[in-house]
C-alpha cells in the first residue's frame, strides 16, 4: 500500500510541472475582501428570526427565569423523561417535574427510550441560525443530541456570534463538532424541503440573556 502513496504523490508532482519550483502555497494569493459579517441589526433578534425560519421553536429569557422556561417547554411537549449531559447545571431543571436521566449511563438504546434531551452549546451563529456543539461543557457526546426525537438547547447570549467567520476561531477543530441549523430535514423529494428525518424532529432553543 505504501507503494501507492509514493505513486500518487509522484503523479501529483509530475502533474504540477507548470508550478514554478520556488512558489510556496502562500504565494497563491487568496483575496479576503469578503465581509466578516453582514450587518443585519441586532444579533439575538437575527438568530431568533433565522432559527424560526427553519422551524425551530425559540424563547428569549432573562437569566433568572430560564428554569421556568425550560420547565414550561418540557411540560408543553409532554416530556416525562429527559436525558441531559452529566455536567448540565442542576438549576436548568429546578422548576420541572420531569425525570432527568444523566447521559453517562445511557447507551444508544437507552437514548432511544427517552422523550428528549436538554443540552447547552459551544456557539451559535445568528446569520445562519446555527447552533454548534463541541461535546464540551453541558453538551455530552454526539449521540446524545442525535437519537432522541426532541432537542432543547440552552444558548447563552455571550455564545452568539454574527456570522460563520466569527464562529470558527472560537471552535477547536480537534473536538468533534456538530453544527445544527433547525431540525433534521430533507429536500430529496421533488427538491422541496420537509422537516424531520433521522435526527431530532423538533428543535427548541432557549436563549438566556
Amino acid at each position: 500500500m505504501s507503494g501507492s502513496r509514493e505513486r500518487i504523490l509522484g503523479r501529483v508532482r509530475a502533474a504540477l510541472a507548470d508550478v514554478p519550483p520556488g512558489e510556496a502555497p502562500e504565494d497563491v494569493l487568496v483575496p479576503r475582501d469578503y465581509s466578516s459579517a453582514h450587518d443585519r441589526g441586532e444579533t439575538i433578534a437575527l438568530l431568533v428570526d433565522r432559527l424560526e425560519d427553519y422551524k425551530a421553536l425559540v424563547h428569549r429569557t432573562p437569566a433568572g427565569e430560564s428554569a421556568e422556561v425550560v420547565a414550561r417547554a418540557l411540560a408543553g411537549r409532554g416530556v416525562r423523561r429527559v436525558a441531559a449531559p452529566d455536567d448540565a447545571p442542576e438549576d436548568w431543571f429546578a422548576e420541572c417535574d420531569t425525570d432527568v436521566a444523566r447521559a453517562g449511563g445511557l447507551d444508544p438504546a437507552g437514548l432511544d427510550g427517552v422523550d428528549g434531551v436538554v443540552t447547552g452549546c459551544a456557539a451559535a451563529i445568528a446569520e445562519t441560525g446555527t447552533i454548534v456543539l463541541d461535546a464540551g461543557f453541558a453538551q455530552g457526546r454526539r449521540a446524545l443530541t442525535l437519537i432522541p426525537d426532541y432537542h432543547l438547547c440552552v444558548v447563552r447570549a455571550d455564545q452568539i456570534v454574527t456570522g460563520v467567520p466569527q464562529a470558527l476561531p472560537r471552535l477547536d477543530p480537534g473536538r468533534p463538532l456538530t453544527w445544527i441549523s433547525g431540525p433534521s430535514a430533507t429536500s430529496d423529494i421533488e427538491l422541496d424541503r420537509v422537516e424531520g428525518v433521522h435526527g431530532p424532529r423538533t428543535l427548541e432553543v432557549v436563549i438566556v440573556e
Binding site: M1, S4, R5, I8, L9, R11, V12, A14, A15, L16, A17, V19, A24, P25, V28, V30, P31, D33, Y34, S35, H38, Y54, P108, A109, D112, E127, T128, T130, A135, R141, R142, A143, L146, V164, L168, P173, G174, R175, P176, L177, T178, W179, S181, G182, P183, S184, A185, T186, S187, D188, I189, E190, L191, D192, R193, V194, G196, V197, H198, G199
Partner: protein
C-alpha cells in the same frame, strides 16, 4: 453505454421525467437565488473559494502530506488508493477485519465513482445507503441522476410505490396505507433505518472537505443519517478524493457560506459534522481515511482542465443547466452528470470511447453553469478545450471535412462571395425538409429563406455609394440623442 445524444433522445421524449425535472430544478433555482441574493459579498466569497482551491491544487503534494500527518497524529489511519480497484480492496479489507458483513453509508460521490457497493457485495458485504434519495435509488435498483438529489427524476407518487414494494425486502417494511405526502415518506425512511443505525458497527462515508492543517473531516448533510453513520458505529471508513483538501480550518469560513447556499439553497444545511481522528468515548474508535486518486492526478496535469478539481459538488450547475433540465442525469452515463460531469467524466476517464467523447458536446455553451458556480469553474472553457481533444482524435471525419470546407470558404472573401452567389442562385431549390444530416435541423425547425442577395453584394451595388446625411458631423459628443430624433 449509449452516447449522450442517443440517451437524450429517449429522455426528452419522457414526459413524466421532463415534468419531474422541470419542477425540481425550478424549485431549487428559486431557493438558490434567494439564499445567494442575501449575501452582498457573494462575488468576493466566490473569488476567495476559487483561490483557496487553486492554492490547494497547485501545492497538492504538500497538503496531502500535511493532511496525512495530522490525521495520523489524531489517531486515524491513512490509506492511499491509486485507482478504484485499490480503493475497493482497501475498504473491503478494513470491513473484513472488523468481522462485520453489513455497513451503513453516508451519501458519497467518491464511493459511487469507484462502485464500492458492488465491490463489497462481491465480498459478501451489504452496504446500506441511508440518505433518503440514495435509499430510493437503492430500493428501486436504479441509478442516481443528480449529485445532490440522486432521485430527482422520481416524484412523490413513484417514491411511494418504491417504498411500498421494496422496503420489506431490505428491512423494516413500509407502513400500511403509506401516503405520498413527503412527510409521511420521510417518516417511513426514519422507521426503516432506525434499527439499522442502532446495530451496524461499520460506516462508510466521503467528506465534503478535509482540512490539511488540523486533519479534520467535514460532512454537510440534512437528514441526520450522516450523523448516525459518523457517530454510532465502532469503525468509520472515509473515502475522500485527493482534491477535497482545504489548507486550513479558517478556510471553512468561505466554503461553509458557499456550499449550502449553492446546493440546497439554504443559509446553512441542517447538520454539519466535523471530526479529527478519533475521540475517546465519543463516536467511532477506529477511523480510516482512504485518499483516492483514480484519475484526479491526470486532471491536475491539464492546466486548463485542472479547475474542474475545484468542484465542491454543490450541483448548482446541474440545477441551472437547460440541457440537464431536459435530459436528467442518466443521459450522461456517468456518476457525475450535468455540466460538471460533462467536463469531469471525460477528464477522469479519457475521451477514447462513447459516451465520454460525446459529453463535451452536451452543452449549448450558454454559460449559466459558470455564472452560478460558487468556485468559478469556467465550465464552457473546459468544454471547448475537451472538444478540441475529441476533434483532434480519430473519427469525426465528416465533421472535419465540413469544418475544413467552411474554413476554406471563410479563408477568402472572394470564395465566400462565390459561395453566397451559388446559394442565392439555388434558393428556390432548397426543400423545407432536408435529407441526411441536415434533417437534424429540419425535423423540428424551418430553415430560413436564402436571400436573393448577400449583404456583401448589396454593399458593392449600393451600400458603399450611399452617403450619410451629414457626413461631417462630429461623433459621440452626447448630442446624438437629438440627431437621432431628426
Amino acid at each position: 453505454m449509449p452516447s449522450f445524444p442517443e440517451a437524450a433522445k429517449s429522455a426528452t421524449g419522457d414526459s413524466q421525467l421532463r415534468h419531474n425535472l422541470r419542477k425540481a430544478t425550478h424549485t431549487i433555482r428559486a431557493k438558490r437565488d434567494g439564499a445567494v441574493g442575501e449575501l452582498d459579498d457573494w462575488s468576493q466569497l466566490r473569488a476567495a473559494g476559487a483561490a483557496i482551491k487553486d492554492r490547494t491544487l497547485r501545492h497538492l503534494d504538500t497538503y496531502l502530506e500535511r493532511l496525512e500527518d495530522a490525521v495520523t497524529a489524531a489517531g486515524g489511519r491513512v490509506h492511499w488508493a491509486a485507482d478504484a480497484a485499490e480503493a475497493n480492496d482497501i475498504v473491503t479489507g478494513l470491513v473484513r477485519a472488523t468481522g462485520e458483513s453489513d455497513v451503513v453509508k453516508v451519501k458519497s460521490m467518491a464511493t459511487q465513482e469507484i462502485e464500492l457497493n458492488e465491490a463489497l457485495a462481491q465480498a459478501g458485504i451489504t452496504a446500506y445507503e441511508t440518505d433518503l434519495a440514495e435509499l430510493i435509488v437503492q430500493l428501486s435498483d436504479d441509478l442516481p441522476s443528480h449529485i445532490l438529489v440522486p432521485a430527482i427524476h422520481r416524484n412523490r407518487a413513484e417514491i411511494r410505490e418504491i417504498f411500498r414494494d421494496q422496503m420489506a425486502a431490505w428491512g423494516v417494511p413500509a407502513p400500511e396505507r403509506l401516503s405520498d405526502d413527503p412527510r409521511a415518506l420521510a417518516e417511513a425512511a426514519r422507521v426503516h433505518l432506525r434499527e439499522r443505525f442502532m446495530r451496524t458497527k461499520v460506516a462508510v462515508s466521503g467528506a465534503n472537505f478535509a482540512v490539511a492543517d488540523s486533519g479534520t473531516m467535514v460532512v454537510l448533510e440534512s437528514e441526520g443519517n450522516g450523523r448516525m453513520c459518523l457517530t454510532l458505529p465502532q469503525t468509520l471508513i472515509s473515502v475522500v478524493g485527493i482534491e477535497k483538501i482545504v489548507p486550513s480550518w479558517s478556510d471553512l469560513e468561505v466554503f461553509l457560506q458557499l456550499l449550502p447556499r449553492s446546493s440546497t439553497g439554504e443559509r446553512m444545511n441542517p447538520y454539519t459534522s466535523t471530526w479529527t481522528g478519533v475521540t475517546p468515548g465519543d463516536g467511532p474508535q477506529e477511523f480510516h481515511l482512504v485518499l483516492l486518486d483514480n484519475g484526479r492526478s491526470d486532471v491536475l496535469a491539464d492546466t486548463v482542465g485542472r479547475q474542474a478539481l475545484r468542484c465542491i459538488r454543490c450541483s448548482a450547475c446541474l440545477n441551472i443547466c437547460p440541457v440537464y433540465e431536459r435530459t436528467g442525469g442518466h443521459a450522461y452515463g456517468s456518476v457525475y452528470p450535468g455540466p460538471i460531469g460533462a467536463i469531469l467524466t471525460p477528464q477522469l476517464q479519457g475521451t477514447a470511447s462513447e459516451p465520454e467523447a460525446s459529453l463535451p458536446y452536451a452543452s449549448s455553451l450558454c454559460g449559466a453553469c459558470y455564472e452560478v458556480c460558487p468556485v468559478a469553474i469556467d465550465i464552457p472553457e473546459v468544454l471547448v478545450h475537451l472538444r478540441e481533444e475529441v476533434a483532434g482524435g480519430s473519427g469525426h471525419t465528416a465533421e472535419k471535412a465540413a469544418m475544413g470546407a467552411a474554413g476554406w470558404v471563410f479563408g477568402g472573401e472572394r470564395r465566400l462571395g462565390a459561395a453566397q452567389r451559388a446559394a442565392s442562385a439555388a434558393r428556390s431549390l432548397v426543400p423545407r425538409r432536408m435529407p441526411g444530416p441536415a434533417s437534424a435541423w429540419t425535423d423540428t425547425r424551418d430553415i430560413p429563406d436564402i436571400p436573393e442577395e448577400s449583404f456583401r453584394s448589396w454593399w458593392r451595388r449600393e451600400g458603399a455609394a450611399e452617403e450619410a446625411p451629414e457626413p461631417g458631423r462630429a461623433p459621440g459628443d452626447g448630442d446624438e440623442q437629438e440627431g437621432g430624433r431628426r
